[in-house]
Structure formats: C-alpha cells, structure tokens
Symmetry: C2
Subunit: 309 residues, 2 copies
C-alpha cells in the first residue's frame, strides 16, 4: 500500500489528511497556523506533524509518495508562491522548501485551484477532466482544471474569476481595488448586499428581517416561497450565470462545480443560475453541466494529495 | 532531416506548407477548397497534394513526421470536429480520416487555436508558453495556449472569446444569436459600426468620409492626428481592453498576441488597448504583455505543423 499526505494551509488552522494513493482519506486532523515571524514556522510545523503521523502509523517512509499542499496565495507552475498575505509569506519556492523539510516529494498549489482538483478527483466533478470550480463564500474563488491539470496562470492568478469585471457603473470598490468585479455581486457578501438594497424598498410581506439578510436566510426564504427572497435570488443568479457564461466562452468546460457557503442552499441555487447561463452563453459552450461541490472543507485535502499524481 | 506538413483549410482555399521539423517553412502553396458534396473531397485533395509534394521533393515518406491541419470549426481534444459550416462538414473524427488518407500521423485543430500555436512557436508569442491570441477580423477570434498546449474546450469551443458577453443593453444581434458579444464592438466590423455612429454626430473637421469608415481609415486618421478617429479608437480600445482584462482573470496569460486585419494598424493599436486593460484587470493578472502577431496568414500553417510535436 502506498500513501500520500494532503495539506490545506489556512490563516488560522492547517487541515491535514493521510490518504491512500487511491484517494481514500484514512485520517484527518488539524494543527494551528503559527503566523508569528512572518509564518516562518508553518511549513516546519506541518513537516513535524507528518513525521509524527508516519511514526504513529508505523509505516515505511518509502511507502509515502509525497505531500501536497494548498496555500492561500498565488502559486505559479514552478511552485513559486507570489506572496500569501494571510500567512505573512513573501515570494519563495514553497515546493522546494517543503520537500527539504519533509524529505518527501512535495507539490504546492493555490488553495482554490487545489480544491477544484479535489472536487474533480473525489467530489462533484468526478468523471470530468475540464472543470471550473466556483467557490461562493466571503468572496468568489475559482479553480480551473483543463485536461486534468490546474491552470495556475503565469503569475499564479489563473482562475481568479471573482475579479472578472462585470459592471461599469459600480461606485463601491471591490477588495481588490477594482470596481464592478463579479464577487461584489455573486459572493455571500454580495448576495447580502443585494438583499439589503431590495429589503429597504420592499413594501410587501416577507420572512426576511433587517437582522438577518444572510445567504442562508435568503435561500431558506426562497424554499418557503417568499417573494422578496425569490427576487434577491433571481438577481444573484442572473449575475452569477452571466459570469459563468463569460468563463465558458474562454475555456468551454464540461462542468461548473459550485461550492462554498452559498452552495449549502442546494440544487435550488442551480435553478437560479442556469437560465442566466443559458441566456448569456455562446451556444457552442452551452453543454457545460452545473453541479454542486460535495467535499466541503475536505476538498483542499483531497486536491493537495492529487497534486502528486 | 525530418519534415512536416502544415495545412490551413479555409472556405475558399487550402493553404499548405512544407516545413522542417525545426519549423523552417521551405515552401508554401494553395489549392482550392472543393465544397461540393458537403466538402467530401477536401481531405483527399489535400492528401493528394501532399503525396505529389513528397514525390516532387524526392524525400522518403518515412522522414515525414506527419501532417497537421487547422479547420474552420470547433474541434475537441479527441480530434472530433463538431461541424464546420463553411466546408459543409458535419461531426466526424477528422484526425483519423486524415491519417487514413495520407498514411501519415495526422492532427487536426480549430483554425484560430492553431494560429495561436503558430504565433507561440514562430511569431509574436515566441518565448511564452501561456498566451491568448486575439484575431481582430470580421469577427473576434481567439486561441488559448496553456503550458504550450491548445485549450480546445469540451465541445471544441475553447477560446471563443468573441462571444464574451460584455454589454447588457445591446439591441442588435451578434452573428451567434446573442446580444452584447465582444465581437460586436472589438472586431473590424464593430470598429466600423462605432465609426459610423460617431461620424453621424460629428460637427468638427475630420479626415473620415462616409464612404470609408474602415478600421484602416480610422487608424490612418489616428496617425494623422484626427480627433474623431482618436475618439473612435479610444472607444474601441476601451471595450477590447476590458475584454482582455476579463480573459486575464480566467487564465492569467503571459501575453496577449494581437493579430488579424485590425492589427495592421501596428503598435498604436496596443496604445489604445493597454490603458483599458490596466484599468479593468485584476492586479494579479496585470503582468500580461501586449504584443502584435507577426506571421499574418502563415500562422495557421506553422501552428498546424506544431500540432505534431
């Protein structure tokens, strides 16, 4: 039996997984992310935890194929990280450093791209090799897989689909400094912003209250048949579907895999995206399936492990 | 010495090239495209022409690595053509058929994608491996190369960047049936349309006349310092730069290679695209260079040959 480690490095915790080479997740655990000293200890902490696990399991290190890691920052095809602000990291070759510390083959990728790879391997994207994963959380993250491989981008910014410019008239700034980015409308935050705007002018009955205009409240309301919630969801779905149509004209994927907090709404979310996707997409790209992600927070562990193959 | 044939199949003529494996174009010629009988004779005509050339040159067929071809229609990663209306072709495996007819290894790709590969190999994109080629002609064509390989797309529609939705308010239909596609503004046709609109309302002096509102006339006017021409070029450049910024947020290329008829304007065209690209692009993707294509109509021959390697 051969084994592999998959590691998802976040700003607060590092999620770690021990898997077979077939992708069976045998065990997972977390260690805190030590951001002191510009994150200088993070990789060595992870390496020590891997060493302990190898000892604990009594396996031969020669049976470990390697370790993969997803990190919250741009990583190019050479494994060079172009800074990861949440960790305090600057520019360096993380794959080489991680390999030196673990004595194992090591591969590093951007966390959103790595999650996409995980969903393709063991999640909602199984059976496809050209997918775009869309993570609807605080922002809109993305990961693009073509022919089974991550599109890292020349500066590690492949799949930064949250920053597709979609509205010329936006006055508010996006977190990136731009104006009118997709994530200003199609993230959980963007959905709440739309909810707030429509709620303020709403004269009819609604289950929504000013205290809770979250994505969950909106989609719970949609399921209960609330008219305002349906309007908010429609506006959200229209913008997101348009964004996906634009992406499809660039890379023509087999499937979009929709994940992140907003996707907990379930298949009803897809019902709001699909009509807009069909309206704005080029006919030759309309074959793309819309599916939900299934791995949740474990996508990064699976995808990091898959980097080794 | 090893050789390769590169073939660019168009609706009127087939451009053919005989190259060394190093990519030196030794000879090029054309044969007419026989569109009778739903284009049933096209590939056999090409095969016969290749056979004649091998005989004429007195080379050993064993020294021919193979033949590559670009065709005007979607081609997926398996070499399946999903119809080519200009040739009368339906859905079939063109690589297999072409190999059978020539007795050589054969590879087929979409013509715009193949031209992108050619520009990467021997043209404006030399030195890069992640490029987006943008062809500004009657429409806006595109070809995306990631890590040296064409992004065909799951239905052969990878790089159909002319059909990125960019304007919600468009009333006129695009050739594809959509409304507000990039090519409605950023093609030669789109540029002339903008010229017509602005010319109609123009009260000041201008070198333009209602008889000639072509892309060439506009950029000649720009070079002569004409104010109206500069306004038209600015509007054109703003839309195209925005489109390229959107593409960059998806695949983060090293370079955009700009070709097609409009690119004959030269480097002044890039001066009108770049400010808009910088305005609308995500900062992490702003590293992309803007360069002009250099191979003109030969890009397809070079790229088709490169398919073999």
């Amino acid at each position: 039996m051969k084994y592999v480690f998959g590691v998802d490095i976040g700003g607060t915790t590092v999620k770690m997984g021990f898997l077979t080479s077939e992708g069976e997740l045998l065990e997972k655990w977390e260690i805190p992310t030590d951001r002191s000293d510009n994150g200088a200890n993070i990789l060595s902490d992870v390496a020590a935890s891997i060493d302990s696990k190898i000892t604990e399991k009594g396996i031969d290190k020669a049976d470990v194929i390697g370790v993969g890691a997803g990190v919250p920052g741009p990583v190019d095809s050479n494994g060079i990280i172009h800074s990861a602000a949440n960790l305090g990291w600057g520019v360096f070759n993380a794959s080489e450093e991680f390999s030196r510390l673990t004595g194992l083959k090591a591969m590093v990728g951007n966390d959103a791209n790595v999650a996409a790879l995980g969903e393709m391997w063991k999640g909602g994207g199984v059976g496809y090799k050209d997918i775009v994963m869309v993570t609807l959380g605080t922002g809109v993250g993305g990961g693009i897989i073509i022919d089974g491989k991550i599109v890292n981008g020349s500066a590690g910014a492949g799949g930064e689909i949250g920053h597709i410019h979609i509205n010329d008239d936006e006055q508010a700034a996006c977190g990136c400094g731009g104006h009118g980015c997709l994530e200003q409308y199609a993230s959980a935050t963007g959905l709440s912003r739309t909810a707030k705007e429509l709620f303020a002018d709403w004269k009819e009955a609604t289950v929504l209250t000013a205290d809770d205009l979250s994505a969950k409240a909106v989609f719970d309301g949609v399921k209960a048949g609330d008219k305002l919630c349906k309007e908010i969801a429609a506006k959200f779905g229209d913008t997101l579907g348009k964004g996906l149509a634009i992406i499809a004209a660039v890379v023509n994927p087999e499937a979009f895999v929709i994940g992140g907090g907003v996707s907990k709404a379930g298949s009803i979310l897809l019902d709001y995206i699909t009509p807009s996707f069909e309206k704005y997409s080029f006919h030759g790209t309309r074959n793309a399936k819309m599916v939900l992600a299934t791995l949740g927070n474990d996508a990064g562990i699976y995808g990091a492990a898959k980097l080794l193959f």
